[in-house]
Symmetry: C2
Subunit: 164 residues, 2 copies
Amino acid sequence: MKWGALEDEACSLARTIAVIGDRWTLLILRECFLRTRRFEAFQSSLQITRHLLSERLKKLVRFGILRRVPYQDSPKRYEYILTQKGLDLYPIIMAMVRWGDIHMADERGRPLLHEHKKCGKLFDPVMVCSECGEVLAAKEVHVHPGPGRPVSALATAHQHRSDE
Amino acid sequence: MKWGALEDEACSLARTIAVIGDRWTLLILRECFLRTRRFEAFQSSLQITRHLLSERLKKLVRFGILRRVPYQDSPKRYEYILTQKGLDLYPIIMAMVRWGDIHMADERGRPLLHEHKKCGKLFDPVMVCSECGEVLAAKEVHVHPGPGRPVSALATAHQHRSDE
DNA sequence: GCCTATAGTTCTAAAATTGAACTGTCAAAT
DNA sequence: ATTTGACAGTTCAATTTTAGAACTATAGGC
């Protein structure tokens, strides 16, 4: 399958995967959220090959996740900064961190703790329903076709089954 | 980089990426949450090659995300069911769906709508602070080293910078 | 016997990734 | 004036992964 095909699927998950659904892109984003901005810094902290790093950064810029901003002239140099679209990826990253904390931590506990500046406490990121505020679980959710889904779409078949 | 190396990093995100950080695995999980259970069903709805599907399912079983359960004898056939560890990936999937809904939807709107059975309303999944319940944003979060992080770890350098 | 269904495995070709070296611009040091 | 080093990449051969297609195995039904 080609990456482009994913972008065109009538599925928001597939479209997101088309943008950030690979190992290096996700790791690059981790660095971005830890304030890394420059090519050399990404390269040395991730041990990614320069070739791939260059490719991935271009892709993230193309999708509007990062902005390539000059930070000096002569020689002209650029750094990569998260756009709002990029910052909006934060819940995805945090959801993955949370799952790793719960299911992949070793005996010594989680590698990083997170403090919420607003309330001052160490916290866990929790996903809730926007309407009632309850913690979300897969079994509590029922899926409906939305306006953006063609009747012929692949996912249609699933819908019937998920109506069980 | 090898996948195994990621598992061993002192970073919950890296460890999660080691398990689900590739395109096909994420798509397979989408199908799982839409109640797909069988090899042929995964294969025909995803158009993944049988070879890769087989490989990825094995990996998900190895990591305890799916359970391979016999559903008939003679010939013996199996289906793949999400474990609790697998069900716990739901927030990650939903966070990705949400981002796609916001940033990758076309003019016609989102492909799927989600109803929360508990409250009966169409909702969006929102990530909040477990302590104060406020919606989370990257800028509101401050990172600290946790017990599971070796002093020498790669992430240490970032920590200093993120303390700015 | 032959066809179909299901769940895989095997094989070759094509694509992506790795590793290492190389390019170009400029500032600072010798 | 020349060399060295920092930074942001690009290029290219070798290795690894993925795609695509064909093949295997077990059993029920015609």
